[in-house]
């Protein structure tokens, strides 16, 4: 090792640290043992370092500093907690205000029940009587029922429509009533079915085997979409009186 390299390594060397590789530290020691000039420089370097280290650390700590630091941290923690509580209180107040508004609204409604709007009732009735099939379509849409209503039926005979229970499934049902005479009107109950709910092909086959006891059963498919079918259970000799062609003939 030459003196230049030794000087560089002396810059790196710090007693008690592992800044030099063991092999480098050994090589440096060997050089210092053989080179009085470098050994003297190393001694000066260490002595200077010791003096500088002592002086560098010789800083008086102001009285009460740890107490002031802790007090500042405590104040920060208190402020942080307050901010958190304010946020929680704000959320709770907002939730309470909403609940109060809902409660007051419900209470007000209970104490002030609305009057029956006869005009609205009259106009709905007139609209349904004037165009019953539109009423059915609107009802199906409002209840998100996709099965389209049958087009062939005469909706002036429509008496009622509702959701019926068929083998545990809710299906729309249209009730048509036609008075052949005052004492015994004929009825046709039309169940609106979809392929999602029932096996419509099996239904079509099975309906042909049903014996007529007091009522008849027919299955009609939607003219363009075989996913929809109408299961009609009716009284009377045939379904034709309920269909549009009969009405037109009467007119």
């Amino acid at each position: 090792m030459d003196c230049r390299t030794a000087q560089i390594l002396m810059e790196l060397f710090r007693p008690g640290t592992a800044e030099l590789e063991p092999s480098e530290a050994e090589a440096l020691d060997r050089h210092l043992a053989d080179c009085p000039a470098c050994a003297q420089n190393a001694g000066h370097e260490r002595q200077s370092d010791d003096q500088l280290k002592t002086a560098m650390r010789n800083v008086s700590i102001p009285a009460g500093l740890p107490g002031r630091l802790s007090a500042r941290l405590d104040a920060m923690q208190v402020a942080e907690k307050r901010r958190r509580l304010r946020r929680i209180a704000g959320s709770l107040a907002a939730a309470a205000a909403v609940l109060l508004a809902v409660f007051l609204g419900m209470d007000w409604q209970r104490k002030h029940p609305p009057a029956v709007d006869l005009d609205d009732l009259r106009s709905c009735f007139n609209a349904e009587v004037a165009n019953p099939s539109e009423g059915v379509q609107k009802w199906l849409q409002e209840n998100k029922l996709r099965t389209p209503p049958p087009e062939d039926f005469e909706y002036h005979f429509l008496a009622h429509y509702y959701l019926a229970d068929l083998q545990g499934k809710r299906v729309p049902l249209l009730l048509f009533v036609r008075a052949k005479d005052a004492s015994s009107p004929d009825q046709a109950r039309v169940y609106l079915l979809s392929a999602e709910q029932f096996d419509l092909n099996a239904l079509a086959l099975n309906s042909q085997d049903v014996e007529s006891v007091g009522c008849k059963v027919e299955v009609l498919f939607h003219p363009t979409d075989r996913r929809y079918a109408y299961l009609v259970v009716y009284t009377g000799d045939s379904l034709e009186p309920f269909l549009k062609s009969v009405r037109q003939a009467e007119i």
């Binding site: 002086a55 560098m56 650390r57 010789n58 700590i61 500042r72």
Partner: protein, 181 residues
Amino acid sequence: MGFAGNSWSVQRLVDEHYVSLYRYAYRLSGSVADAEDLTQEAFCQAQEKRHQLRDPARAKNWLFSILRNAYLHRVRSDKLHHLTLLENMEEMPELPSQPLPAVDPERLQQVLKELPEVFRTPVILYYFDEFSYRDIAEQMDLPLGTVMSRLARAKAYLRSRLLQLEAEIAADGQRRATNGL
């Protein structure tokens, strides 16, 4: 050492490190008031960012890094503080042939103030002893070689200037003694 992120844990950092942190702050800034402000600010930032400290063993490095950044931010924003920039710091001062005698801490501070911060910081951290060269390089976000180079220059500068000041004071003392006769 529990680092659940609560103020008790940061309080423990205060207890363990406030002395060395304050000393570092004083050597960086040269002012008792600034040093206390910087130390306060460092611990406050540690409180706010406590979730960032993943390895408790690196707490001291982390705190020193926070303090240095706070100091640099202050120096950049405070236009009243001017650092005396030395010319030709890239040139290596000649290494004195004699060792340093005992160094007056205030005189050391006076010479430290002459150094630009990028030379002052590594030499302060070096003499605080617990930081390896890698620690210093990491804190300053510099390559190891750059840190070594700046450290060598800063140390040589300190020794030269302190010896020069000692000689000037000694010469001044002798002149006064002669005039007194």
